[in-house]
């Protein structure tokens, strides 16, 4: 049991490996420093995107997600994800098929084409959940070698990690709720940073649910509002736990500058990358160079 918590397969999804490889590198390295071994999930496909697939054809979405879960089941490991969208697909499908034998049978009918069978033998967890619940704040704090000097962080939880709240069987801890979560705030503050309260903190980044793909102006308008609110409280960086939110805040700032003329230049980090900086890893090791918005201003404040 204890081993299963600290060794799991790593499902990367699409955006992290293709656009922000630093998220992958940072997650694997920082987790290792905390005693969590993340093993490549070989042969993994698209999660598939919950908004794009799930709203078109539920069964296809479930079957493709179940296929990824099956790969992890074959390794005999729980599955860790670094992306809220992947979490929505894999976690929700895993729970749904475990609880609904009729749906499981339908999905297994399709998986048979690939000689696979969903068993329901593993758990799907977000890396943030794994770090908070399994590793714990104390261990995270103990791993810090470069405290973050009270930098001001605008935290963005993202939607799919927390919603729909009714389907998130989070343990009954006040800071781990879905309406008023504090766990990411605690995790950021354990590194010596300050989590800033800002208006509409729980609002969507704008990208998810197919909005970015369908109507970019609309998506960027939402992002712009969040950026404005974070700037108003003077954040030094944005911290997310989802590559799609990450993309929307990072690349989005370039696009917002082009479309609306608003300039922010707020560095954007996945939690793994912030944790990496606090654990003394170099910006290079954490792939921060690949970001659209330069992180130099942040690094100056830390060192």
């Amino acid at each position: 049991m204890s081993e299963s918590k600290f060794k799991s397969s790593l499902f990367l999804g699409c955006i992290a490996p293709n656009r922000y490889p630093g998220i992958e590198a940072a997650t694997i390295k920082t987790s290792k420093n905390l005693g969590v071994e993340l093993v490549d999930l070989k042969g993994a496909g698209c999660c598939p995107a919950p908004g794009a697939f799930g709203s078109m054809d539920l069964l296809t979405w479930e079957a493709l997600a179940a296929r990824n879960i099956c790969l992890s089941e074959q390794m005999g490991m729980n599955c860790t994800v670094v992306c809220n969208g992947c979490y929505k697909s894999l976690y929700d499908v895993n729970e749904k098929l475990k609880q609904n034998p009729a749906e499981k049978e339908k999905v297994n009918g399709i998986l048979k084409l690939a000689d696979m069978k969903f068993q329901g033998s593993i758990e799907v967890r977000h890396v943030a959940e794994q770090l908070y619940n399994d590793v714990g704040i104390k261990k995270i704090r103990d791993s810090v070698v470069q405290p973050l000097n009270g930098i001001k962080v605008g935290i963005h939880y993202g939607c799919h990690l927390l919603r729909p709240g009714r389907e998130r069987n989070f343990p009954n801890a006040p800071s781990f709720g879905t309406e008023l979560p504090r766990f990411l705030d605690e995790m950021v503050e354990a590194l010596g940073a300050r989590s800033m309260e800002y208006q509409n903190k729980m609002m969507c980044c704008g990208a998810g649910g197919g909005v970015r793909g369908y109507k970019k102006d609309f998506a960027l308008d939402m992002t712009n509002e969040k950026l404005r609110n974070m700037q108003a409280v003077g954040v030094d960086c944005i911290v997310d736990v989802c590559p799609f939110c990450h993309l929307q805040f990072d690349l989005g700032q370039v696009e917002i500058k082009e479309k609306f003329g608003d300039v922010y230049n707020i560095p954007v980090l996945h939690y793994g990358q912030l944790l990496g900086l606090a654990q003394g890893l170099s910006p290079d090791e954490l792939g921060l160079e690949a970001h659209q918005i330069k992180v130099d201003s942040l690094l100056d404040k830390i060192v």
Binding site: G165, R166, G177, E179, L180, E197, Q199, N200, M202
Partner: protein, 658 residues
């Protein structure tokens, strides 16, 4: 057991209009019934429960010389008493009757597969006939009744019930756990839709209770234990140490004036202060002070101030008293849902988010602010006030039911704001406005005309501006299909009605049931909404489910009337369907005593030192648990004997008839 000749059985099949006949061919059923063993007569009618239907039973018993009657119709819960009476009218012992439920158990649930429904109806009738052939006459016993009634809870429900009972000349014990009677209604300012003041209509009744010669009011008391059964309950009441001798206290209040301890007053939901020796509100009944021993520092300043009156005793201890009553009315009231659980609305986090009940205390002339609504954060007058309706009601994540009063009291709050504070705009965020009562819809129109703003949509979340402590309310206007944001000074959450946490403890003491929503369960939702599963215990008010004041008062009067029936009859009939212990076979192991859910079995020691189980007929419900657990087969369930049940099972498994 001596072999007895099987009963001559008559079968009567009810069409129930088209409820049964629309699915199952009645003639086929009748022809089948005639072929069953021991059946000497079969008949049918559109409504067996009607006068002509019952007449058929009565006549056939005489003409066909029947020993037993089977009626194939609806659930015995509905009409078993009806047909037992019909059988008795024909001269039979009323317990030689069996009901075959072919409506709920066949025609209704199998209405889409009539052939299988017909087959199942035949099976049910065959089994009933097999049992009816072996039924034996039973005698109804009567027990005398204690001529007094206890009412638990002295809110408006308990007050109304007590007055009704006491006026008819019956001694009434009114038990209240708070220091004063009055309950939640005494907290309210005005009542919808007539806008008469709650105090003006309630306090005279409170005084009536206090003065009534037949009512013994016991405040600051709790029910500790309930023993006995209908007609003969013994209730142990804990008189909590009040610290003040009620007989000696004249309510002058000098003690509170010198008390150095200040605490939030529970009656004002913490909005106003009280002392460690206090009355919850100036109009309290009885007007006797109470010491809160949790906060009293025993400085004895109050004792010195009280002086020669000597009414205060800081060493007072709880006392237990036993009271014998014939019946009990439970009027335990309600609590508000802990709305802080809906974290998105920020109650408990944001100063200016309050509940509807707190609004009542603010707007109440005798409340902590003398009737002014203020922003709790800075005491200033608000400009925009938002109301969140269905707060914790009609919500799968909180309580699925409608609390039935929130729409109306929020409308009333809107009116009060517009009346008392011209220029202040009430914004009501609602899902539907449920204005179901007399003159309620008219009241809704009136509030619309007065200028209240209505937004149809649930509030998704509320944020606080840290600088101004104003609240930013986010919702969707579902009529316009657009997100809306409103900056409000105060947000009022119309928090749901839930049963009191203590009601569950009381329920276990009374051995009565609850429904899935945790409110106390009535005997029948329509036809017997104030009785319970335990004879002699009745329900009134919000402990049974959310209610407004008119419904509460009506139910309380109904419960009072029902509770008086056994008292006025002077005796109660006991259903003889009870467990019977065989003296020869009982080994006194006591397993049955532990299993009995109604505490009806006790172990008695005989002269020869042996123990034996003894069943109290008045308390036994005939559930059969003891009979099933008895390792020696010493307990016989009357009316459900082993041969009767075996015959029923045999009839099912072996078939029969054509």
């Amino acid at each position: 057991m001596t072999e007895k000749k099987p009963n001559r059985v008559g079968v009567f099949i009810c069409h129930c209009g088209t409820n049964i006949a629309g699915v199952i061919p009645i003639e086929e059923l009748k022809a089948y019934a005639k072929t069953l063993p021991n059946v000497v007569h079969a008949d049918n009618y559109t409504y067996m429960c009607s006068t002509p239907g019952q007449e058929k039973i009565r006549t056939a018993i005489k003409e066909q010389n029947l020993d037993a009657v089977v009626v194939a119709a609806c659930s015995p819960r509905l009409h078993e008493p009806t047909f037992r009476k019909a059988s008795a009218a024909g001269g039979l012992n009323m317990f030689i009757f069996e009901m075959a439920n072919i409506r709920e158990q066949s025609s209704w649930i199998h209405m889409k597969e009539p052939e299988k429904a017909t087959q199942k109806a035949k099976d049910i009738i065959r089994m009933s006939v097999a049992r009816a052939s072996l039924l034996e006459p039973l005698d109804t016993k009567y027990i005398p009744v204690e001529k007094s009634i206890m009412v638990i809870g002295a809110g408006v429900a308990g007050i109304q019930a007590s007055l009704e009972i006491a006026d008819s000349g019956i001694t009434t014990y009114l038990i209240e756990k708070e220091p004063s009677i009055g309950g939640n209604m005494s907290r309210l300012d005005k009542t919808f839709p007539t806008l008469d003041c709650s105090q003006c209509i309630l306090t005279p009744k409170m005084v009536d209770v206090d003065r009534h010669p037949n009512i013994k009011t016991m405040t600051y008391c709790e029910v500790e234990k309930v023993d006995g059964y209908i007609g003969n309950f013994t209730v142990t009441v804990r008189k909590k140490a009040r610290g003040v001798k009620e007989a000696d206290c004249n309510g002058c209040g000098d003690c509170a004036a010198v008390c150095p301890v200040t605490k939030g007053n529970e009656f004002d939901l913490g909005l106003g202060p009280r002392k460690a020796i206090y009355v919850p509100f100036p109009q309290a009944v009885p007007l006797k002070y109470t010491v809160d021993f949790n906060s009293c520092i025993k400085c004895e300043l109050c004792v010195k101030k009280c002086g020669d009156k000597n009414a205060i005793d800081l060493n007072m201890k709880d006392e237990l008293v036993e009271i014998k009553v014939g019946t009990i009315v439970v009027a335990a009231g309600f609590d508000l849902y802990e709305i802080e659980k809906k974290e998105e609305w920020g109650y408990g986090r944001f100063d200016n988010v309050i509940t509807g009940m707190q609004f009542e205390r603010f707007i109440n002339a005798s409340g902590p602010t003398g009737g002014k609504l203020i922003r709790p954060s800075d005491g200033q007058k608000p400009h925009n006030v938002a109301f969140v309706l269905c707060a914790g009601s009609r919500d799968q994540d909180a309580n699925p039911y409608c609390s039935r009063v929130c729409c109306m009291y929020s409308l009333k709050h809107a009116h009060q704001i517009m009346e008392k504070m011209p220029g202040v705009v009430p914004w009501l965020f609602y899902m539907d406005i449920r204005a179901f009562g007399k003159a309620y819809e008219e009241f809704y129109y009136r509030i619309q005309d007065e200028g209240a703003k209505f937004v149809r949509g649930r509030v998704s979340y509320i944020e606080e501006d840290p600088a101004t402590k104003n609240l930013i309310v986010h919702a969707e206007d579902t009529l316009l299909g657009t997100p809306v944001t409103l900056e409000a000074d105060v947000v009022v959450l119309a928090s749901a009605i839930v049963p009191k946490a203590t009601t569950e403890l009381l329920r276990n003491k009374l051995t009565i049931s609850r429904s899935p929503d945790k409110f106390l369960l009535e005997a029948h939702p329509k036809l017997n909404p104030f009785s319970t599963s335990t004879d002699g215990i009745f329900l009134a008010g919000c402990c049974q489910g959310p209610k407004d004041i008119p419904d509460t008062v009506a139910q309380a009067a109904g419960a009072a009337a029902a509770a008086q029936v056994p008292i006025n009859q002077g005796k109660v009939a006991l259903e003889p369907i009870a467990a019977k212990v065989s003296e020869e076979l009982c080994a006194g192991c006591g397993i049955c005593e532990a299993q009995c859910p109604y505490k009806a079995i006790s172990m008695v020691s005989l002269a020869d030192g042996k123990r034996r189980a003894n069943v109290n007929d008045a308390m036994c419900k005939g559930c059969g648990t003891c009979g099933a657990t008895c390792p020696g087969g010493a307990i016989k369930m009357q009316h459900f004997t082993t041969p009767q049940i075996v015959a029923q099972i045999d009839a099912f498994l072996l078939g029969g008839g054509q």
